[in-house]
Amino acid sequence: MTDNLVTGTRKSLEVVSSAPQGDKLIKKFLREPAAVISLVFLALLVVVAVLAPLISSYDPTATRLADVLAPPFTAEHPLGADGVGRDVLANLVYGAQTSLSSAAIVIAVSLLIGVPTGLLAGYRQGWIDGVSMWISGALLSLPAIVVLLVVLARVGRSTSLALVVFGILIAPSVFLLIRGSVRAVREELYVDAARVSGLSDIRIMVRHILPVVITPTIIQAALLAGAGIGIEAGIAFLGLGSSDKASWGLMLNDASQNIFNAPGLLIWPSAALVLTVMACTLVGNGFRDALANYGSSAGPARKVKAAEHASSTPEPARPMKKAPVDPGDALLVIDDLRVSYPRPNGEKSDVVKGISLRVERGQIVGLVGESGSGKSQTAFSVLGLLPGQAHMTAGTLSFAGVDLLGMTPKERNGLRGARIGYIPQEPMSNLDPAFRIGSQLTEPMRHHLGISAKTAKEEALKLLARVGIPDPERVFKSYPHQVSGGMAQRVLIAGAVSCNPELLIADEPTTALDVTVQADVLDLIRSLQAERGMGVVLVTHNFGVVADLCDQVAVMRNGEIVEVAEVTELFTNPREEYTRLLLDSALDSTSKTPADHPVEADMTTETEGAR
């Protein structure tokens, strides 16, 4: 049970950064049927516990010899009586009281210890943090039962004592959660902003940190409740708890003693226990999921990311309305490409709305647009790497005269890396941190070219030297975190061209780089392209990069291509208003000041984006 709490802690932490306000969260929560049912169940349980005297007229601890193992479903004992003649129903409902109060004790103790220490350690850091982390680690590495046994053996049977001890032992889960949340929030810029605004530490704590900590604490409390109820039952079952109160654990103990005489006795307490613990977990998880979904919809940038999940490439479908376009001898032909994502409310949101594009062999085509214009989605469509739930259709999607749409995922995979190369945007996050750069370079080569490990290594070293890495041997042996961002991007470029692809798809290949490195990388891409005669699709938002590299430019906006032109033509004589607006926004000395285009103040039409 402990492990769940602690892993749960980690999961809860992930949602800390997006603290929502109540009403929306509840709406989200209500969309999780399991959680809602569980919450209703727990509410009913509370009602049952409170109304116990009304539900059963029996004293749960009163025994009647005449009723020993009385059968269930009689008027006298609706659920029968146990091995010492106690009414099962009465024990079940009064047991709910015990279970709920056990949950309360565990929650109270662990929160009382965990929350203040967590706040202190997270906010103060330094030695307080070090010491409390050590203690928390020490507590977590204690086997709970052994400690309970020792304590109970010395102090005597007492459920509440055992629960208090358990609460202390489990307090680190709360501590870690709170500490983690506080640290996460501390790092947030808005806390810095609040500090700069002149807020006192206490005010920052109350206004900015506590609200964020509260929701995960509630989640954790739900999980703690489950653990507390479970441990109470365990203690009672082992005969280490108080015996003067009804308890599901005691019922289980009695039932297990009568397992051959009246196996039916096992059903009621087991069901009550399992359902209650499960309900607590589900409520906790429900809140967490609600929060997690919630957090992910915070910004447009995060939406796509969270929506993406790993799965096989979606089956492409061809819309029936149009006949395929003849690809001719073009390298890449895209016709009427559409990509859409399902929305939570069941509708679809179109991110690419029927675009057409042609890339000739050896040609560099720039795909320019602001964030959300669909340029990256277009690139991924060509690669066949759209996330699982994306829906893609196209009239034509052909590469070097081959119809990509008709291919099996396996055939498609055979093209990737071998004939179509890909350069991603973020150099660091695109290398597998667990593998040496060398093995990440050689693996695709060995797979596609069928060469030996030795040959692959030689090739890789040559490639590394080619992309301008001064010490290929060292980089070959390095892990990604041991090289700089510029180096990593060169490694990724080396990987993209390692199998001599005919088409290179570069998705903002220089955006994450410093400007001097960017210039070097652009030079590298240009020279590689010239050397190998690759066709290149270059996705970028930077007109400088376009001007530097491209032959042909397609300007995208809201999932559509608004203009395609030869590069010089586009810069000297933009046809579309939008292209002009974008060009004017460029801040370099050639452009006019943006003041010529008054800013639209009406926020309902304004869509100021961020990358």
Binding site: L142, A310, N430
Partner: protein, 313 residues
């Protein structure tokens, strides 16, 4: 690397010291006379005094503590007050059954949990939802209930496995496997569900990582992407879970050993704590802490293997 191991071991030593000290004084807290307990009601006051001297309990508590600590450091954990058996010998007898069970259950839980978690993460849909429901259910079922039912069905009714007892591996590997099968399953079930959920979660996260897309863009076979690359990265958080599970499994073994009458460290802890057999309880506490320290160290080393970045710090 060596520094790292040494630092962890030093921290482990401190932990051992702190916990054994706490246990020692806790056990002496209530001021009950342990000697009377050892000798039983029949013994005369004189006999009790003799025994007290024999056990060194006439000394002040602090002296007793340092005497114990002194010999513990030299590897002598003393003898049981009740059976006069050397604690070291007792531990060497009770550890194998428990470790067989605990390690067996972790292996089982890790293998099948990973398998199920990965499958659920990749397939999603109905299988995934099913997994989540079943996992929550399984985690909610108390271990003793599982053990009870397993014993009844597979041992008593079907007689597929022994219902009670433990056979040492050295005595008969086949019987050893048979004797730990049911306890291992009983212990593993909950952990298996947690690991499956954990692996599923991290796997889903990893599969969303940029580098996975880039690996795919290199045309690597799906199996290589999933098993070689993604799973390795996803294993990190799950490994931490495994070390926590080890601790939980040691705890749960108290109950499982009781149900299957396995003479392990949990049973011993229960008996000795119950009657206040201080040397034995201290020995058990020490050995569990050592195990936990070692397992945590191994997990950290494994983390380093999985995530080279960790190795540096």
């Amino acid at each position: 690397m060596l520094m790292f191991i040494l630092r962890r071991l030093a921290s482990g030593l401190v932990l051992m010291f702190v916990i054994s000290t706490a246990t020692f004084f806790l056990l002496n807290l209530t001021g009950q006379d342990p000697v009377r307990q050892v000798l039983g009601p029949v013994a005369s006051a004189e006999q009790v005094e003799t025994k007290r001297q024999q056990l060194g309990l006439d000394e002040p508590l602090i002296t007793q503590y340092f005497q114990w600590l002194g010999s513990a450091v030299r590897g002598d954990l003393g003898r049981s007050w009740f059976t006069n058996q050397p604690v070291g010998e007792l531990l060497s007898q009770t550890l194998p059954p428990t470790l067989s069970m605990v390690i067996g259950s972790l292996i089982l839980a890790a293998c099948f949990g990973t398998l199920i978690g990965v499958t659920a993460a990749l397939r999603r849909g109905r299988l995934d939802r099913g997994l989540q429901v079943v996992s929550t259910l399984v985690q909610a079922i108390p271990g003793f209930l599982v053990a009870l039912v397993l014993a009844l069905v597979f041992a008593v009714q079907l007689r597929m496995f022994p219902a009670t007892g433990f056979t040492a591996f050295a005595a008969s590997p086949g019987k050893w496997l048979a004797s730990i099968s049911l306890p291992v399953i009983a212990l593993a079930l909950g952990s298996l569900a947690s690991i499956a959920l954990q692996v599923r979660g991290s796997m889903i996260d990893v599969m969303q990582q940029d580098f996975v897309r880039t690996l795919r863009s290199r045309g690597l076979p799906e199996r290589s992407v999933v098993v070689k690359h993604a799973l390795r990265s996803a294993a990190g958080p799950s490994l931490t879970t495994v070390s926590l599970m080890f601790i939980v499994a040691i705890s749960s073994s108290v109950i499982v050993e009781k149900v299957f009458n396995i003479p392990g460290i949990g049973t011993q802890a229960n008996t000795s704590a119950g009657r206040g057999d201080l040397p034995v309880v201290l020995g058990i506490v020490l050995v569990t802490v050592v195990l936990v320290v070692v397992v945590n160290l191994l997990v950290d080393l494994a983390q380093g293997w999985i995530n080279p970045k960790v190795r540096v710090s």
